[in-house]
Symmetry: D2
């Protein structure tokens, strides 16, 4: 059994890790930390876990975490930076769900996250945790920086087009919508049920922190800088991201359906739906799947890609477990076999 | 025009007062206070009000509030107590939406609200603001303590039975469910959309603060102490209270439908639905109506009353406006004519 | 009092007309028709209307409808066509909420609606019911074909840019999302609560019937053909449309905020929010308002306009009442003064 | 591998069976029937199943179903009756999720279901499928009639009290609320999202078909006839039942918490929460668990039991799989190990 620790286990990505790992045949969670809830049993805070864990939150200590084969950081940005060097020195491998090590350009990171980076020397080494792009590098990585939720849904939808140079990389549009769990478990008036449960809005149009992350990934796929307008929206529901992606075809007569099917043929967690489909977020809820459809409305030059994921699963904790499986040579789908419930 | 002030205008009952009073032909809101939002325009915080108010929040000052003919307190419990004596001394009439002056027995209030009462000398004078019971006293009251949300829905459903002595007063059950706006606009993890938007639960089964208020009202109707089990539940929606009320008939052959129709014949805001109906909370959303149905399943001895209100309207701000209308001799429905939107 | 009739009153736009007209000081609803519900009282089907109407559904007869000064068609497409010539011959003025007379090119209509047009001779005369564009023509129209829901939200958001030639008209993108009431009151598995209440999807990407209607309106504003990709989405909520509109600026240094404020300065139902705002559908729920914000993310060449309406109100019945007010010389806001409830 | 067939696989309990059985280590679904969807792949109708089944719906034929070791009926009431005798004659064991064989008194069944019973001769043999009561009989049953959704939640909450004679059996109250998936996948105006997604109501107060089923089970537990008032309510959400159960204690000084813990100590799917808890429907969503809390408010004589299940899982398909496991000597939790997702 692989021993894992979770730092910051009280948040939504923490409890999602616990849910997924409870069913993982090769993993045992041995430490879970939270300063605020020290001593509280995890199944007291999350009664859905009753019967599955006999574990309480503890204060994070590097020496204890270092007993683990792998440590997940399910923390807000800024936290993993502070402990990373120490942990890696113990030969513990780290999977960071936060944004701390995702962006290669440190100035960009500091500008968007509005603080100095606490561990710039490890940024270059960190492997961006999007297995469909970086599987090989993830295998041997000491530090994986898991892709964010919007970035996963947008990149998986656009990279087949960009890798082949089929669309104009200077005018990409990513219109995405997320369930409110994406905002995390922090108390806030803005995310009260009474504020958001019966309404819909765009937010962060001026600039959202996932913009530079997405641009970095798309630029790699395109082999050069891309122009991207990214507008996130808040859905009156809990889980799910739906990305509607617009790009302008610069080549005629391409079979987009075949292109996508070919690109993702061997991917266990990317499912290209039949031509003409409209993926629904509920098709992937609670699972690590990304389901994608590609359209070319009226046969005109705009390609429209629809991509859905569960923001807490393929957009966070599921992706982290997928990376763990890759890092430790386990079957990539271990612990990730559940099926979305419909209805 | 009657000049009114609102203390604590940033909460949900505050903005609901603003919405209702914007359409009131005889009232002008001249002061609205909030320490936290001093200087902020009300339509900046609540853009639904754009075009209807040219007003900003100010810090509450008794001398300014005293310029008003009437002042609403839309504050958490404990606030109105502190300013009440001073305001009344200015001859301003006060309509308190909070729980401060609802309970006549001060020890009971202090036990349930877990603090000393700051103004016990005015409790006896305060008139309980449930017009269907106290219309006459409200007319001349200096201080009206508006009935709470659950208490309104439960009392309107049970008093016809208790006033006539038709049911056993010792075994009353009030099973009620409220939308999450009843919890107010305070930031809290428990009321995040991600926590409550797709679930249902009972809460406060051990004892909810509305229990003594309801028992006080029902005991008056029954002419003696009542036994009541009250279980509130939290609905995954924003507005609306539904009370399902069980009592045991101790008289045979009563025409319950006729009884309820007769009791509320002249009430502008209580609508007894046709026999066999099931009121839905959406029938009253955004309005000051209480809609009621009464059943006697299988003709057996349990009477089941179903009663719905909008917790923020008939359960709070609408009731407050109704009281204002009564106090100032205005048509009782002024400003309260809107119709629930369906769907 | 102006006497009005409503054909097809059992659907969602029908009951919304009843709600709005109940509060209209100059209008009396004298006839409401439904074949399926003949003889049923409107307040039996819609208990929210109890106390406001003493009216039952009747089978539609032209001779009775002709007694009205104006008749609303709140019917599915294909119905108004059949009665239009006869009604107009009686000098009754007609406001059609359906799609029957919106599209000027009859071949286009027939292709998208997949049937022959039943009254092509009146299409040219029909005035497209979008007051912000056609107010003058509406005044004297015999037949107003009210703008659809998506078309209203999209056109109001894009025409200020197109009228001034500021954006490339060949690459417009309208990404819109609607509450499920837009699908109407027909029974359908696809719109069951269990199917859509906790999910989000695009639909009709291949081509939605509102596409030709929107293109027609935008082309008029642009003074020439436009290229438009329109992707509608289904929101897990009941009311509200949010349009996110992307266009490419071809002129530098324009003050978009000033442009929009100027364009809509005198419009009672279009509200340009302060710079940097994100309109929420709840800001307009139950009202005839369209609230708009305009952004230019990172100062780059893509303009992003956000536009919200209530699909049943400004997107249907409210717009119809607004047109009625214009046609009969009433204050344009009569019956349309309500304020959205928050929360 | 045990071969199973599913009759009526397009409904919500059918797809839930498919979801659960996809993860069952000892079961293979070999036949799934639907007249309406003959030839359609199950993963076309339910894309959440993509990658898990290579199966299409077929027309039900007894000879093909008879090849299975067990057959589930996931049909509306009235269907299983017609095929039951023939199937049992083939020595296929049957698990009926419908109401056809639940009620022992045939007159009662016919009165409540308003039709003649098509197979009265097998009613006596049928074993009521509530493992916590009938595990022994289920083991060897040829025909299991699974307990209904409300009946499961209510019986599990009340039988510990009734079995011990602690409460007055003549005045039981079951106030229950269900998500809308309980109404099934039939098209209906009443269950449209626009009708129910933002409202709450009681229904069937006059008498719901689950009433005689519940009374039958409670009477067995009590050892004599019970008096029960049962009021179901419709929640604005998809999955979950919450029962709030009121009964009058006739014995003093009982430790209710200990009683419940003792009664369910060895039950894998009944979890008695710590004293003072309030179970939430989300604690059990997608799982076969029933979580229960018991209260005695203010120490008075009314016991209040709170019981939550997932109506499609422990209330239908999960319970059916649990019965299958018992019938075939498999581990009782096989295929039923998933954990509810929070949030």
């Amino acid at each position: 059994m692989i021993k894992v620790g979770i730092v910051g286990g009280t948040g939504y990505t923490g409890v999602e890790l616990l849910r997924l790992l409870a069913g993982h045949p090769e993993v045992e969670v041995t430490v879970i930390t939270s300063r605020a809830e020290e001593g509280v049993r995890v199944d007291e805070l999350y009664p859905n876990l009753r019967g599955h864990y006999d574990l309480a939150f503890s204060t994070p200590k590097a020496c204890e975490l270092a007993q683990c084969d792998a440590v997940f950081f399910a923390t807000p940005h800024g936290v993993a930076q502070g402990m990373m060097a120490e942990l890696l020195a113990f030969n513990t491998r780290v999977i960071d769900l936060s944004a701390d090590f995702r962006i290669k350009d440190i100035d960009t990171w500091e500008a968007w996250y509005n603080q100095s980076h606490g561990c710039p020397e490890l940024v270059a080494e960190a492997v961006y945790g999007l297995p469909e792009v970086n599987r090989q590098a993830i295998r041997t990585a000491r530090l994986v920086a898991c892709a964010g939720c919007y970035p996963t849904s947008v990149q998986l939808g656009l990279i087949p087009l960009l890798e082949k140079g089929l669309v104009d990389p200077s005018r990409l549009i990513a219109n995405a919508a997320s369930g409110v769990s994406g905002a995390g478990r922090g108390s806030s008036v803005d995310n009260l049920c009474a504020e958001v449960a019966d309404s819909f809005k765009a937010y962060g149009v001026k600039g959202h922190r996932h913009l530079p992350e997405i641009k970095q990934g798309l630029s790699e796929a395109a082999g050069g800088e891309v122009g991207l307008t990214f507008v996130p929206h808040l859905l009156p529901m809990i889980r799910g991201i739906h990305a509607t992606l617009y790009s302008e075809l610069q080549v005629e007569g391409v079979d987009l359906q075949a292109l996508f099917e070919e690109r993702y043929r061997d991917e266990p967690f990317v499912d290209v739906l039949p031509a003409g489909s409209h993926p629904q977020t509920r098709y992937v809820k609670g699972t690590n799947m990304c389901r994608i459809a590609v359209h070319q409305p009226q046969g005109e030059k705009t390609a429209v890609v629809l991509s859905v994921i569960d923001n807490l699963c393929k957009g966070a904790s599921g992706q982290a477990v997928q990376c763990l499986n890759i890092m430790f040579g386990l079957p990539e789908t271990a612990g990730l076999n559940s099926i979305a419930a419909m209805p």
